[in-house]
Amino acid sequence: MSKAQILNSISKNKPAQADLPVPQEIRKDRDMDLLQEFIDKAEGAGSDTENFDSFVKVGAWIKQQEKNGKSVTDLSQNSIGKDHPSTPADDDEKVDMVVIRGQIGVAENGAVWIDEHDMQIRKLPFLTSHLVLVLEKVRITPDMHEAYKRVDLEQSGFGVFIAGPSKTADIEQSLVIGAHGPIEHTILLY
C-alpha cells in the first residue's frame, strides 16, 4: 500500500525529464606510474606494502608469519573469484592474520577489491587484527571508473573495496588506526 502511495506521489511530483550525461573521458594522466601511485596511496591510507618479484616469495613471507607464532588463515592459494574447497576457521578470538587474494587494485586511492569467493566468510576480513591482501601488479587500475569496469557485482553476494586498516577520527579529529576492524593492513604485491 505504501509502495503505491510513494510511487504515485513521485510520479505526480517528479521534475521534467533530464537526460543521463555522456560519461566523461576521465583522468588525463594515464601514463602515470600505476604501481608507484598505488603504493603511495595505499600507504597514505595506512597500509604496509611489500613488493615481490614472484608469487613464491609471497608464500615464503606468509610462512614466515606462521613461524613467528601467528595463527594465519591463508586463502592466498584460492583462484580468484572461485570458492576454496575447504572452509577456513573463523574463531572470533583466534584469527591473528587473514590472507586473501585481491582482484583489483585502484591506484588513485590504494583500495583493493575482494568479493565473497575470495574471502569465503564475509566477516573474515573485518574480524582479523591483521589483514593481508595479495595482489598481482598487473591487476592495478588507474581509477574507480576503470575498477568498476572490471568489478562484477552480480558474481557474488558481497564485495568490498578496502583501503588500509580500520580507522576513526571521532575523538577530536585525532586519527586512530584500528577502530573495529583490523589494526594492521598489508598488501603483498607480486
Binding site: 510513494i6 586511492n109 568498476y148 553476494g157 571521532d170 586512530v176
Partner: protein, 455 residues
C-alpha cells in the same frame, strides 16, 4: 529555541567556539588537498549532478527496477511512507525474530525517524556502533554533524564519559586509549549481534544491491555476525548503474573527510547462506519535496557534510543550534519542508556567502535555495515580527528614491551625534555584537555629482 538564541549560547565560550571552528576548517582543508590532487574535479561534479537530476526525474522507474532486482537477489524490500511506518517495520522484524538487541551503524535516516527512542521504549536495546555515535549515545545527545557526530565534544569530555560508562582509567584522555576501550566494548556486541542495521549510501538499480561506506568497519562487523541485516534508505539514494558508483565514490570521501576513499566500501548484493537482508525504502516527505520547483535539487545530496565544514555560521554556532537532525546549510534547505513554521529561522542562519555551493560535490545551489526559502517564509507569513517590521521599513525607503536620499543624509548626520545607547538598543539586534559602520562623509551620488566633471 531559535537558532540565533542557541548560537549565542554556543558563542559564549570564545576559545571553545574557536576550537570547534578550527577543527572543521581543518577537515575543509584536507578536502581541498584531495580535490586538487585529481585533475577532473569539476567534470566529476558535473557528472554527479547530472546523474542525480536524471535519476530524480525518473525516480519511480528506478525504484521499481531496483526493487525487482533486489527481490530477485533474495533481499526483502519494505516501503515506508513515513517515519512511523519505518520504525514499525524495524520493530516487527525484531519481534518476529524474538530479538531484543539491535546493533546499528550510522544512519542519518534513523535519526530523522527518531527510531532509537521509539525502539527503546518498546524494550529494545539499541547499540550505536560508530564511535562518534556511541559517544553521543552515552552522552544522551543528538549528533551535531552528519559525518562527525561528536565533533563538538572535547577528548576530556569523552574520557569522563567513558570513565562512567566503560570504566576506563581516570584522567586518561588519550584518543588512542579511549578508542581501544570502545573497540573492546563494542566487539562484545558485534560477536553477539543477531540483528544489525546500517544505512545505505547508494542503491544500484540495475543490479539490485547497495553500497555502504565506513572507516571503522563497524557496519560490516555488525551485519556479518548477525543473521538479519536491516538497511534503511531514503528514496533518493538510488542510482541507475554500477558505473555511476565510480563518480560518486570519487567525490564522497574526498568531500567528507579529505580521504581519497573510505576504508570500506561494502557492496551488499545477496544475503549470505541462511541469512536475511531487509531493505526499507523510506519517503517521509521526500516525494512531496520533489514537486517543489525551486527546491527539489536539494534531494541530490549525498550527505558528505562538506557544506557544514566550510560554513562560517555552522562552524561558529555548532550543529545543535539548528535544532534538527541535519544541521548546517544543507539542513537549512531540507528542514523548511518538514515544518516551515518551526524552522522558519533556519534559512536566515546563513551569510549567503556561497561557500556551501562551491564545495558541494553534486552542485546543489545551496545558498540560492536559502535565499529562495527566505522568500517562501515571507510569503507563508512565517517571518518573525521584528524581521517583518525591519524589512517593511527598509522596503518602503528603498522603493522611494527621494525618501531614500533624504534618509541617507539624515542617517549620516544622526549616527555621528547620536549617543551610543540610542543606537545600540533592543530594537537593533544586529548591533548587539557588531558595531555599525562608520558613517561616510557623503553618499556616492553626492560624490559623483561633485566629481563627474573632473577628468
Amino acid at each position: 529555541m531559535k537558532h540565533a538564541q542557541a548560537a549565542k549560547e554556543f558563542l559564549s565560550n570564545g576559545p571553545r567556539t574557536e576550537w570547534h571552528s578550527q577543527a572543521l576548517w581543518y577537515v575543509r582543508q584536507k578536502r581541498d588537498i584531495q580535490k586538487d590532487e585529481i585533475g577532473d574535479w569539476e567534470d566529476l561534479r558535473e557528472q554527479a549532478s547530472a546523474i542525480k537530476e536524471h535519476t530524480l526525474s525518473n525516480l519511480d522507474q528506478y525504484l521499481e527496477e531496483f526493487e525487482t532486482k533486489a527481490v530477485q537477489n533474495g533481499i526483502r524490500v519494505h516501503w515506508a511512507a513515513n517515519a512511523e511506518e519505518h520504525n514499525n517495520i524495524v520493530l516487527e522484524i525484531l519481534q518476529k525474530a524474538d530479538v531484543r538487541k539491535l546493533v546499528k551503524s550510522k544512519s542519518m535516516l534513523t535519526e530523522e525517524c527518531h527510531m532509537n527512542p521509539f525502539l527503546m521504549e518498546k524494550g529494545i536495546d539499541v547499540i550505536e556502533s560508530d564511535l562518534g555515535e556511541r559517544i553521543i549515545q552515552f552522552a544522551d545527545q543528538d549528533p551535531s554533524h552528519i559525518v562527525l557526530p561528536a565533533i563538538h565534544l572535547k577528548k576530556e569530555e569523552v574520557g569522563k564519559l567513558f570513565e562512567r560508562k566503560l570504566d576506563t582509567e581516570s584522567g586518561n584522555y588519550d584518543p588512542q586509549y579511549l578508542t581501544g576501550a570502545a573497540r573492546k566494548h563494542l566487539r562484545e556486541h558485534f560477536v553477539t549481534a543477531e540483528v544489525a542495521m546500517t544505512g545505505v549510501n547508494f542503491a544500484i538499480a540495475e543490479s539490485g544491491g547497495f553500497a555502504v561506506c565506513t572507516n571503522e568497519g563497524n557496519a560490516d562487523m555488525g551485519v556479518h555476525h548477525a543473521s538479519i541485516h536491516i538497511a534503511s534508505m531514503g528514496i533518493e539514494k538510488v542510482i541507475p548503474r554500477k558505473e555511476h558508483l565510480a563518480v560518486f565514490l570519487r567525490l564522497l570521501a574526498r568531500s567528507a573527510t579529505g580521504q581519497p576513499i573510505t576504508t570500506y566500501t561494502s557492496h551488499f548484493q545477496k544475503p549470505a547462506e541462511g541469512r536475511e537482508i531487509h531493505l526499507i525504502i523510506v519517503d517521509n516527505g521526500r516525494s512531496e519535496h520533489l514537486g517543489k520547483d525551486k527546491f527539489w535539487r536539494a534531494l541530490k545530496c549525498i550527505r558528505c557534510g562538506a557544506c557544514l565544514n566550510t560554513c562560517p555560521v555552522y562552524r561558529l554556532s555548532g550543529g545543535h543550534s539548528y535544532g534538527y537532525t541535519i544541521p548546517g546549510p544543507i539542513g537549512s534547505i531540507l528542514t523548511p519542508r518538514v515544518d516551515l513554521k518551526q524552522y522558519s529561522d533556519l534559512p536566515f542562519a546563513s551569510s549567503l556567502c556561497g561557500s556551501c555551493t562551491d564545495v558541494c560535490p553534486v552542485k546543489i545551489e545551496i545558498h540560492e535555495q536559502l535565499y529562495q526559502w527566505r522568500q517562501e517564509v515571507y510569503e507563508q507569513k512565517q517571518l518573525s515580527g521584528k524581521k517583518k517590521l525591519g524589512l517593511r521599513f527598509m522596503g518602503r525607503i528603498l522603493a522611494r528614491p527621494r525618501l531614500y536620499h533624504r534618509s541617507g543624509k539624515f542617517a549620516r548626520k544622526a549616527l555621528k551625534i547620536t549617543p551610543r545607547f540610542l543606537v545600540y538598543n533592543r530594537l537593533n539586534p544586529w548591533g548587539r555584537s557588531r558595531d555599525m559602520p562608520a558613517p561616510p562623509k557623503q553618499s556616492f551620488q553626492e560624490w559623483y555629482r561633485e566629481n563627474r566633471n573632473k577628468s
